[in-house]
């Protein structure tokens, strides 16, 4: 019973932690949209804009990655830890 509760709670927690994926999605969408505008306005600066955008996107992705790491921990690491504690 406790095992089932732990596993269920971990699964629910993993699902909830992936809500963190919303933020980077919206933010990167903004960034890419602005980059498209910039390229449309100045097509000659395409290379710089693209590399800067990728860099910024990768940095903005960090929070989403944190959520993902937490989800992975909850799915694969923490259940075994708690189950070992029981």
């Amino acid at each position: 019973m406790e095992k089932a509760i732990i596993l269920a709670a971990c699964a629910i927690g993993a699902g909830l932690s992936m809500i963190a994926g919303i933020g980077p999605g919206i933010g990167e969408g903004f960034a890419v949209g602005k980059a498209c505008e910039a390229i449309a306005r100045q097509p000659e600066s395409r290379g710089t804009v693209t590399s800067t955008m990728l860099m910024g996107c990768a940095v903005a992705e960090t929070t989403g990655i944190y959520g993902f790491v937490v989800a992975i921990l909850l799915l694969f690491v923490i259940p075994s830890m708690f189950l070992a504690m029981l």
Binding site: I72, L73, F76, V77
Partner: protein, 167 residues
């Protein structure tokens, strides 16, 4: 032995080892890639600089030569122009002299001719006078022989003597 670490298993020695790996790789890259390549790049830069320096020196020398030759060339030009000028002047002078000479000679000749003509004219007038006077005398003698008398003869002589004085 086929054991696994945990998914997230923070281990001090592993951290130290990864740091050491990075430092070792940095040292390797620095010693075996960056240093020799930078040495070569610097050497090449030095060589190119030297090359440029040499080229500049050669260019300066060439320009110096050019200026000297140009100076020489302009001097030669000037000299030639002077020579031509002087030659032209000489020729002008010569011509002028010759013209003046010729004119003088011509004048002299003309004068001489004129005086010759004058003298000849006078001579011929004198000759003509003489001839005419001889003729007149002959004629007069003939006339006189035919109709002269002693009186008229004297009168005539007197008139002739008067005329003579008058002349």
């Amino acid at each position: 032995m086929s054991e696994y670490l945990d998914f997230i298993d923070i281990d001090f020695w592993h951290i130290v080892m990864s740091m050491g790996n990075l430092v070792i790789l940095t040292a390797i890259v620095k010693k075996f890639l960056f240093k020799p390549v930078n040495d070569i790049l610097n050497k090449r830069k030095q060589e190119v600089d030297n090359f440029y320096f040499d080229a500049k020196e050669t260019l300066a020398a060439a320009q110096k030569d050019k200026t000297t030759y140009e100076g020489k060339l302009s001097a030669a030009d000037k000299e030639a122009a002077e020579i031509i000028n002087s030659a032209v002047q000489k020729a002008d002078k010569l011509t002028q002299d010759m013209i003046a000479d010729t004119k003088e000679k011509m004048n002299i000749l003309v004068k001489k001719t004129e005086s010759d003509i004058e003298t000849k004219k006078r001579n011929s007038v004198l000759e003509m006078k003489n001839e005419i006077s001889g003729l007149v005398i002959n004629l007069a003698e003939k006339v006189v022989r035919r109709e002269i008398t002693a009186d008229t003869h004297n009168e005539l002589i007197n008139v002739a003597i008067d005329n003579l004085y008058d002349d």
